[in-house]
């Protein structure tokens, strides 16, 4: 063996050992820095790009009414001046120099920021994100300028009729702490916010022990961890925000309600919503919920055959959205005014039958698990998007939940699904929202036996 070959093999062996220290499935590796920052590296060398993402446990769930919508406004302010970059114009210029695309999103229990760039910009991108997350300036003029931009986003939402349906339903389902589910927020709060409020959010939530740095793409765990250590280890840890600022539990829906929302639309849309499980308290039900949703989504299911193939609905879906502070269970259906009565009756018939042992077959149960597992496989193909999925699970349920997700799905039984339905859906209070055009509203209200403009307690 030549000396060069020996050296080569030695290097290869060292690399292999180093990699195996963190090796995880799906190309995902994780390490926690001393300051509490979780660093996650997703290795996918399909294209020579890297996405640098920061996830923070922030969002609507942390918002009392006087902060309603400010996690989202903060997300907008992230892309502005910081101690290293004096203005938003300079900020954008720097992103262009890096060849980067960028964006951020705010949801109920997670805020994320991400830039994707050629791999040779990796270190500069990580440094850029460090400066942005640790030293925002919240300049008064930039904040004043950004308020109408956010209300412009609000205007666009309000131009969408489904936004109104969803808001009316959610205000009733999360009746006591609506601000903690209202991501877009309250216009007045947004328009009157101050740099001090932004700084309050920063000091409470934008600390390493409440955040994750995720590097996804053509990058090895060794490179990613070394870079994170070099750049992010000086970010100072803070007190756990949830020790002092506790998130209250949502009380149950007090009664069944129906709300009719009138907008100029060309179909009738029904949204039934229940309060579902919290992943931290009842993880077993979250697996059962996902499996059931994918049983009911199969074209061969009784749910689809009786509601869609029968011609009663144009489409129907039953879903659970995983959250740590009570996730919603939704049933959406769309139909015509003519078929509305038969469709809404048929939906209740299906709900009544869901706990019957023969409601779905063993094959459909196994198919659902296969579909969920394969969908994960499909989603991992796209490194720049998969990073958001991993970030979401990290924030909401913890990375271990995601890493063991497929294995836990495999263990879901019929009994688990029955328990889930009996705990959260069957004979449980819900809110039904119906979106209909003003000229058809009277017919719908007559069928639902409610007076014009009235909100009604519903029969289960």
């Amino acid at each position: 063996m030549t000396k060069i070959l020996k050296i080569f093999l030695l290097i290869a062996l060292i690399s292999l050992c180093a990699a195996s220290m963190y090796a995880q499935k799906y190309g995902i590796s994780k390490k926690t820095l001393d300051n509490g920052l979780d660093v996650i590296v997703i290795n996918n060398p399909a294209v020579p790009l890297v996405t640098v993402e920061i996830d923070v446990k922030n969002g609507a769930y942390t918002e009392s009414p006087e902060y309603d919508g400010l996690s989202h406004l903060y997300e907008h302010m992230f892309f502005k001046a910081n101690s290293k970059i004096p203005t938003q114009e300079a900020y954008m210029e720097r992103l262009r120099e890096l060849g980067a695309t960028f964006n951020g999103t705010t949801s109920e229990e997670r805020v994320n920021y991400f830039i994707t760039a050629p791999i040779d910009s990796l270190e500069q991108c990580v440094q850029f994100m460090y400066d942005a997350v640790t030293s925002p300036l919240f300049l008064e003029d930039e904040l004043v300028n950004e308020r109408p931009v956010v209300t412009g986003e609000y205007d666009r939402n309000e131009a969408n009729p489904y936004f109104h349906l969803n808001r009316e339903v959610n205000q009733r389902v999360w009746w006591k702490y609506y601000s903690r589910k209202n991501v877009i927020g309250d216009r007045e709060v947004i328009l009157s916010t101050t740099p001090e409020k932004m700084k309050t959010i920063q000091h409470r939530f934008y600390i390493p022990n409440n955040s994750a740095l995720i590097l996804s793409g053509d990058i090895t765990p060794e490179t990613g961890f070394a870079l994170a250590e070099k750049i992010f280890s000086k970010w100072e840890r803070g007190p756990n925000p949830f020790d002092e600022y506790k998130v209250p539990d949502h009380p149950p829906i007090p009664k069944n309600e129906i709300v009719v929302v009138q907008k100029p639309v060309n179909a009738v849309t029904m949204q039934y919503e229940w309060q579902g499980p919290s992943v931290g308290k009842d993880p077993k039900s979250t697996y059962a919920a996902d499996v059931l949703s994918f049983i009911l989504g199969q074209q061969t299911s009784k749910f689809q055959k009786n509601l869609v193939e029968s011609g009663l609905a144009f489409g129907v879906g039953f879903s659970y959205y995983t959250l740590n502070h009570t996730g919603p269970i939704n049933l959406f259906a769309q139909t015509s005014t003519e078929k509305f009565d038969a469709c809404q009756k048929a939906i209740f018939e299906e709900l009544d039958k869901m706990t019957d042992p023969n409601y779905f077959t063993d094959e459909q149960l196994e198919n659902a698990k296969t579909i969920l597992a394969t969908n994960e496989q499909y989603s991992r193909e796209r490194a720049s998007q998969f990073v958001h999925t991993v970030g979401f699970w990290w924030a909401v349920a913890g990375l271990d939940y995601y890493m063991n997700y497929i294995d836990n799905l495999k263990n879901v039984t019929r009994e688990d699904i029955k328990n889930y339905l009996e705990t959260y859906v069957v004979n449980k209070n819900h809110v039904l929202g119906v979106l209909v055009s003003p000229d058809q509203a009277e017919k719908v209200e007559l069928i639902l036996n409610i007076k014009k403009g009235e909100i009604k307690d519903a029969k289960n």
């Binding site: 020579p48 790009l49 954008m92 120099e97 205007d155 100029p264 490194a383």
Partner: protein
């Protein structure tokens, strides 16, 4: 020092692109052109049969016929009655879908490697032997009519429909690929069968496969499935470019919290020198609109500029704003600057660098790679040119951008949906 960095970057880009493109092959089976890109990096396989022509195959009364034909074809076939077809697809989670745009339609299969053979049989059967039952037709027709009506419920969708109607008046694209309530209501299962029969000519079809299989395996599957399909003599009719002689504004009154606005102009074919230039020009314009309209003046959440990706193209500026006059004036001023002032070398080089990111983002999945290869081939550019994208973009100069802006960014055809308190029509006349 900066110069050296730039050269290194260009070398890096070219090396990366050529490595990325190395495994694309093409072969012919009885007149059916097959483009195959092997990707052993994952177990996902994307199989796509494209049908050429789009709306150029249709007359006004047939609007929506190709879309509905493929939609219903995927519901059941000779060897796969509805329940068997759905049960088999669900068991494997192989995803079968169809799509239609103004230029072409496709049947798409996404599956994992171990299910390729079984999934391919379904893919083959729904293309060659669809059942077209009355029951499936009626169900899908009702869904599609509802979808067509609901375009009016979403201001963005309505804006795009209105822009299409205005800009492509007296053009093949005036035929709505999704159909209208009247045309969709008129189709019988016999119409779908007859139309489908005409689609089955290998000269009208293109197969693109990207994923973890081999050429030998693919060639054998293609020969067995489509070797007996007649060749025919289909020749694509490329739609003409739109010529506009003066600016215009159409207002559609709607009670909305903001106004949805788009100004559209005729743009060059993709794959030409002007086409690559227009891509860069639009991207620079988009950045500038963001900065001037959103960052500096807070006039809108969503200003944009884009360049449509079809065979007969337009470029556009887009915005949602409560003050249309003020906002559009700022936007048009930025269009003027594109014509009057040369782009700096730094801005151009940064933008070209960003295009490398866009290019790879568009190629992350096997499905997106297949769609990109198909577009290049069907548009007449040639699938092999897809891999040359970055080298074409690298050639664009500041002078090219200025010239293209002067040549194309004029006679804007505006559509506004909303209820502005006042409107100064002259602000839109550019």
């Amino acid at each position: 020092m900066l110069r050296i960095k730039g050269i290194l970057f260009i070398i890096f880009s070219l090396v990366s692109v050529s490595l990325f493109a190395q495994d694309i092959q093409s072969f012919d089976v009885n007149g059916l052109k097959v483009i195959f890109k092997q990707n052993a990096a994952n177990d996902i396989i994307s199989v796509n049969m494209y049908f050429k022509g789009g709306v150029t195959n249709l007359n006004e009364k047939q609007a929506g016929l190709e879309f509905l034909t493929l939609d219903v074809a995927l519901k059941a076939s000779k060897n796969y009655p509805k329940d068997k077809l759905n049960a088999d697809l669900e068991r494997m989670n192989s995803q079968l879908s169809s799509s239609s745009n103004a230029d072409y339609s496709s049947v798409n299969l996404l599956c994992v490697k171990q299910n390729l053979d079984e999934s391919w049989k379904i893919f083959e059967d729904v293309i060659l032997n669809p059942s077209f039952t009355e029951e499936d037709l009626n169900l899908e027709r009702d869904k599609q009519i509802s979808a067509v009506k609901q375009v009016n419920d979403n201001p963005d969708a309505l804006l795009q429909k209105a822009v299409n109607n205005e800009f492509y008046e007296d053009h093949p694209y005036a035929i709505d690929v999704n159909g209208t309530e009247a045309t969709l209501s008129s189709f019988k299962s016999g119409d779908l069968k007859a139309y489908h029969s005409g689609m089955l000519e290998t000269s009208r079809m293109l197969l693109v496969v990207v994923g973890n299989t081999t050429r030998g395996e693919l060639e054998s599957l293609v020969k067995e499935a489509f070797g007996g399909v007649p060749k025919g003599s289909y020749v694509s009719n490329m739609p003409p470019e739109v010529e506009t002689s003066e600016p215009s504004l159409k207002v559609i009154n709607r009670e909305l919290p903001t106004n949805y606005i788009q100004g559209t102009y005729s743009a060059p074919e993709r794959g030409t020198d002007d086409g690559y230039t227009m891509l860069i020009a639009n991207s620079i314009l988009r950045d500038r609109l963001w900065e001037e309209v959103r960052t500096k003046r807070s006039l809108s959440y969503a200003p944009s500029a884009f360049y449509r990706s079809s065979f007969s193209n337009y470029g556009a500026i887009y915005v949602t704003a409560v003050n249309p006059d003020t906002t559009v004036k700022v936007m048009i001023n930025e269009v003027k600057k594109m014509k009057d002032e040369p782009i700096s070398d730094k801005e151009l080089q940064n933008k070209i660098r960003q295009f490398l990111t866009f290019y790879y983002l568009g190629n992350e999945t096997n499905q997106s790679q297949a769609n990109s290869l198909a577009f290049y081939e069907l548009a007449g550019i040639g699938y092999d040119q897809e891999a040359e994208f970055i080298s074409h973009v690298n050639k664009v100069t500041s002078a090219d951008i200025q010239k293209a802006a002067q040549k194309y960014m004029k006679n804007l055809q505006f559509v506004l949906i909303g209820n502005p308190e006042s409107l100064e029509v002259s602000s839109f006349m550019y």
